[in-house]
Amino acid sequence: MGARVTGVPIMFEGYSLAELGSIFAMQGFAGLILFSVFVLMALGLAIIFGQMGVINMAHGEFMILGAYVTYLCSTFISNYAPALFPVYFFIAMALAFIASGALGMLVEWGMIRFLYRRPLDTLLATWGLSLILQQVFRSVFGAREVGVVLPDWLMGSVAVTDTIEVPINGLFVMALTMAITIVIYAVMFRSRWGQGVRAVMQNRVMAGAVGINTEKVDRYTFGLGCGIAGVAGSAFTMIGSTGPTSGQLYIVDTFLVVVFGGAQSLIGTIASAFTISQAQSTMEFFLSGSTAKVLTLLTVVVILMLRPQGLFVLKVRR
């Protein structure tokens, strides 16, 4: 996380009120970037886990695949088509979506579709997949973390006041997240296809009976979720570097975000991503990073124990 403020425990004393205000604003912004990444990762998972009920432990690796595609794209374009460099990011994002989505559909066809009735087994199988993908990444790209070169217009920061500065790449990631969220909302809730997806997830047998090809819907839905993970990875390269095991670092956080929000609710996912990221980044400034993380995760887990269904519940008659 580029936005992490590490450091020794610092207490409130010793800051003036204005400084405290700036700190909260800056940390709030850092939290917003974290929030964007969480949302991007969690959206794909919310579709795969929340809608389909499939535990995809390899979700992080699909994200990293997107990040590596972006890395390859940036290297390729800066070497062979420098004119396109300022906009390479959009090309990379489309390619990342296609690559991760295609791999996702392949995995669904080869593995997931046999396991819909055994969710715990899906969890183990996709964990195995994630190990294999990690090793593939390591063999192909090396164990070292790679980063992309940002085009000039994404560098630097905007000074809002004397003490508050916001980095442009962060703003860009946030805008991107908003755009993707709106697109997903439109696809899932405003299109004929999304209606089909929701019908299949709510009642597979009836959906099949009214003529929806449920197998095809499953495959494309899984592909869409993985594709979004790829885009998330693509966005992730703008604020951090990518290594073969980066995906694993976020998988538990992401699952917690989705479960905390209420697995079947997209709004819930966004709300919980917001809560968790803001809590974590604000606490991170005043406590050490690990304590902040422990407190956040613990709070989430305790709340989940008291309210297992999550923040937002989709009311469905079964």
């Binding site: 009920g53 535990i55 593995m111 046999f114 396991l115 055994r118 969710p119 715990l120 087994d121 899906t122 969890l123 183990l124 199988a125 964990w127 195995g128 997949l129 994630s130 190990l131 294999i132 993908l133 990690q134 090793q135 390591r138 063999s139 694993q248 538990v252 699952f255 917690l256 479960v259 050490s288 990073g289 690990s290 304590t291 993380k293 422990v294 995760l297 613990l298 989430v300 887990v301 989940l304 124990m305 008291l306 297992p308």
Partner: protein, 384 residues
């Protein structure tokens, strides 16, 4: 079945008991004779994971509760033992070069001036041994109570336990002064004055470990064959029906989860004794889920299978990572996928399917007539 409860466990010389005797012979006679002390110590280390796998057979195989946080309990058990050993190793005489003698070295490095309160009771061996089992069981009880009473199960339970594993790892790594941080608690020397680092001590500990494992195996077998064990299977397959029959399903789940936790903790404590250190790398998400694969490879329904599965996977891991380190993750990944897609009942399932029928035919021919009339039911199909 018309067998009386007593004969169900002790009276009959059945497949499971024979299998346990065979395993005991392998662990206590054959391996110590065939391996040098270095390899034997390694087998001993693998066997500590078998405790976890046994717990998972009951918890996951029998009761259908997949916990991805068994590393938590393994780790806590190991840490309880390590805290005792560390305190013994950091006597004021041994640590007089520190700025505060008498506290563990990593505390001194982190500028701690006195022993934290929760370390104090670990001066006592008997307290530590009780803590090894009691602390993880208590934690499992709290988690189980909160989750199972609210009917949270399945994948949600798996994810929450996984989150706990993550939390505990971050906590241990972060609180360096109290826990030894990422390196864990190292440089353990003696147990009540008895040096645990010598070859002789390693041999003794190996036998203690193997005996404990056989004991736990028998205990698990007893639990599985009791009425409780059959209720666990029933609630795995038709939870609502068990509930409507008047059982409080949650209590059974809490029990089996605590039991599995305590087993894992025993394994963890034995691990610390044999390997000589404990670190957060045995607590987190990755080791916890690896422990599930030990159980899955052996066969999630078979206690014996879990022990063999643990040995086999760990042996393969050592072999592969010694010679082809890059292949290991591929092999592990393929194992996860294969065990789920191709042979969900693991080694024990393959044995039941391909080897057991032949064995049965052989023995049936020999004792023809003697056992006429008594239908021979393979123990696993009868139990599960």
């Amino acid at each position: 079945m018309t067998r009386t409860p007593q004969s169900r466990f002790f009276g009959r010389m059945d497949g499971d008991i024979a299998g346990i005797l065979l395993l005991a012979a392998l662990l206590i006679v054959i391996l110590p004779l065939g391996l040098d002390i270095f390899r034997l110590n390694m087998v001993g280390k693998y066997l500590t994971y078998a405790f976890v796998a046994l717990g998972l057979v009951l918890c996951w195989g029998s009761a259908g509760i997949l916990s991805l946080g068994q590393g938590i309990f393994f780790g806590i058990g190991g840490y309880c033992m390590a805290m005792f050993l560390k305190l013994e190793a950091s006597s004021p005489e041994a640590t007089k070069i520190q700025s505060t003698p008498g506290i563990p070295d990593f505390m001194d490095w982190n500028q701690l001036k006195e022993l934290p309160w929760f370390w104090e009771p670990f001066h006592s061996l008997s307290f530590s041994i009780v803590a090894v089992v009691a602390v993880p069981a208590l934690l499992a009880f709290i988690v189980g109570l909160a989750m199972f009473k609210r009917r949270v199960g399945g994948v949600y339970f798996a994810i929450i336990t996984q989150a706990f594993a993550a939390i505990l790892t971050i906590l241990i790594v972060g609180q360096q002064g109290y826990t030894g941080g990422i390196n864990g608690i190292t440089d353990l020397r003696t147990l009540k004055g008895w040096d645990i680092r010598t070859d002789e001590a390693k041999l003794v500990l190996y036998f203690v470990n193997a005996a404990l494992l056989i004991g736990c195996l028998l205990l698990c077998l007893y639990v599985r064959r009791s009425k409780l064990g059959r209720i666990l299977v029933a609630l795995r397959d038709k939870e609502d029906r068990v509930r409507f029959s008047g059982y409080d399903v949650a209590n059974f789940k809490i029990f089996v989860f605590c039991f599995a936790a305590a087993l894992s903790a025993v394994g963890g404590a034995m691990f610390t004794l044999q390997v000589g250190f404990m670190s957060p790398s045995f607590v987190g998400i990755v080791p916890s889920i690896e422990m599930v694969i030990y159980c899955a490879v052996g066969g999630r329904l078979s206690l014996l299978g879990a022990v063999y599965g643990t040995l086999l996977v760990n042996w393969a891991k050592t072999m592969l990572s010694e010679s082809f380190p890059e292949l290991w993750l591929f092999a592990m990944g393929a194992l996860f996928i294969g065990v789920v897609m191709v042979f969900p009942n693991g080694l024990a399932g393959l044995y039941q399917q391909y080897i057991a029928p032949h064995l049965r035919r052989l023995t049936a021919r020999r004792s023809d007539g003697a056992a006429a009339g008594a239908p021979i039911i393979p123990p696993h199909t009868a139990a599960d």
